[in-house]
Amino acid sequence: MKAMWIAFAAIAAITLAAGFGLERAGFGTAARSASADVRLD
């Protein structure tokens, strides 16, 4: 059963990394939306 629990821990880790990491890196929905929505010129 160890592989199963490790996989579940990996899901949690990947989810948190995606949720917070991508957001910080500017790939979050709000960040993408802002960069796409605002015309700078």
Partner: protein, 400 residues
């Protein structure tokens, strides 16, 4: 090519799920100068396809504008109704300060069709599919009971799946279940959860579901990649599959154990179902995760039209001019359809892998199965394992 096939299937599903749009009988609009008549309005209310080409073209013409000094000259050749028609049929030359691809589409009535499909056929038939699957599994359990190991247990264990294989399986399975539950919460929130729990309770649930759904997706795609890498070769069809299918895998009769290698035909169907549906739901999911950045359907429809595929099933050519919103609506509809089929299939898989069959869970639990279980369900694979074990000592001591 995959996208093309998926789009054809979608068009078939949508064509069957949505009310068929019959063409309305020709209408003489001479009396209204081309404007909609009462017959047009009644036809539209009956969901018939109305010829709106006259309205599409009646968007004014700046070349015919009256001089600026003439009466009504400042209208620029287009009246207010002309302007609204141009916006309505996406013919207006709209500029905006926003660069979002959807920003210049001010009226998009496809949203209503999508909304009605999402809360109508998608939710209704999806619920029937999942409910029907659960009822069928319950009936199967009541009639057939748990599929036991027929022979005498040996007490010997055989390694069926390595820890890496089990890790990949559970990565995929765990993330799939989270995605399934949060997806269902999202789809049925307004119709089921809010009436049951109230808006205050649903709001944080919906927020959490969205966050989980968006971010667990990456674990799902990684799990899918691992599973494809690990098991594709062993899931290629072979001649034993036909025999297995011919007797229903022995699922419906006691004491019948068709030979199978590592994966039997039923497991192969599940595997390829997971691959096709998993890839499809991943692609449409990515399109939804990155709004307007991964449009899938216009190009796919173009390819299908070139192939003449819509004509095979009596459909008109599919639209190849789609607004950014329509792309998202189609992606969401497709994502939902695939999700329901995927869920129904996995419910059956979960049943057989747990309470439905004695000894089956061990394969993904500890990784080791009872030798007699392997003899009954994967006899050819067990023979291979035994042969390898017999070879191993010789290989280890070649000099002896």
């Amino acid at each position: 090519m995959l996208r093309a096939v998926l789009a054809l299937i979608l068009s078939l599903v949508l064509a069957s799920a949505l009310p068929a749009q019959e063409a309305a009988p020709p209408v003489d609009r001479a009396a209204t100068g081309g404007a909609p008549t009462l017959a047009d309005i009644l036809a539209r209310q009956e969901a018939q396809k109305v010829d709106d080409s006259a309205r599409r073209q009646a968007i004014g013409d700046p070349a015919n504008a009256a001089p600026i000094t003439a009466p009504l000259g400042t209208l620029g050749g287009a009246s207010d109704p002309d302007l609204w028609r141009a916006l309505r049929f996406n013919e207006a030359n709209v500029t905006s300060t926003a660069r979002n691809p959807a920003a210049t589409v001010l009226i998009q009535d496809g949203g209503m069709t999508w909304l009605e499909f999402r809360r109508g056929p998608l939710a209704r038939y999806g619920a029937w599919l999942l409910g029907g699957t659960l009822v069928a599994l319950a009936l199967f359990y009541l009639i057939r009971g748990r599929i036991r190991i027929d022979g005498e247990k040996t007490g010997r264990r055989v390694l069926r799946f390595t820890s890496f294989e089990r890790f990949g399986h559970w990565l995929l399975a765990g993330s799939f279940l989270l995605l399934g539950v949060t997806g269902l919460i999202t789809l049925f929130g307004r119709t089921v959860i809010i009436p049951a729990l109230g808006k205050e309770a649903f709001a944080p649930l919906a927020l959490a579901s969205k966050w989980i759904h968006n971010n667990v997706a990456w674990a799902f795609m990684l799990g899918l990649a691992i599973v494809i890498l690990a098991w594709t070769f062993q899931n290629l069809p072979n001649r034993h599959d036909l025999k297995w299918l011919a007797v229903g895998g022995g699922l419906f009769s006691k004491g019948v154990h068709p030979p199978a290698k590592k994966f039997n035909a039923g497991q192969k169907l599940i595997f390829w179902g997971v691959v096709v549906l998993g890839l499809s739901i991943s692609v449409s999911g990515l399109s939804l995760l990155f709004p307007f950045e991964m449009p899938l359907f216009a190009k796919t429809f173009g390819v299908l039209n070139d192939l003449g595929a819509p004509g095979w099933v009596g459909l008109d050519p599919l639209p190849t001019q789609l607004t950014a919103q329509e792309e998202m609506q189609l992606a969401q509809a497709w994502h939902g359809i695939v999700a329901f089929v995927f869920l129904a299939m996995i419910l059956a898989h979960i049943y057989l892998g747990s309470i439905g069959m004695e000894g089956a869970f061990d394969a993904m639990g500890s990784g080791e199965v009872e030798e007699q279980w392997a003899r009954e369900h994967h006899s050819l694979w067990l023979d291979e394992v035994k042969a390898r074990e017999a070879e191993a000592p010789k290989a280890a001591h070649p000099a002896e």
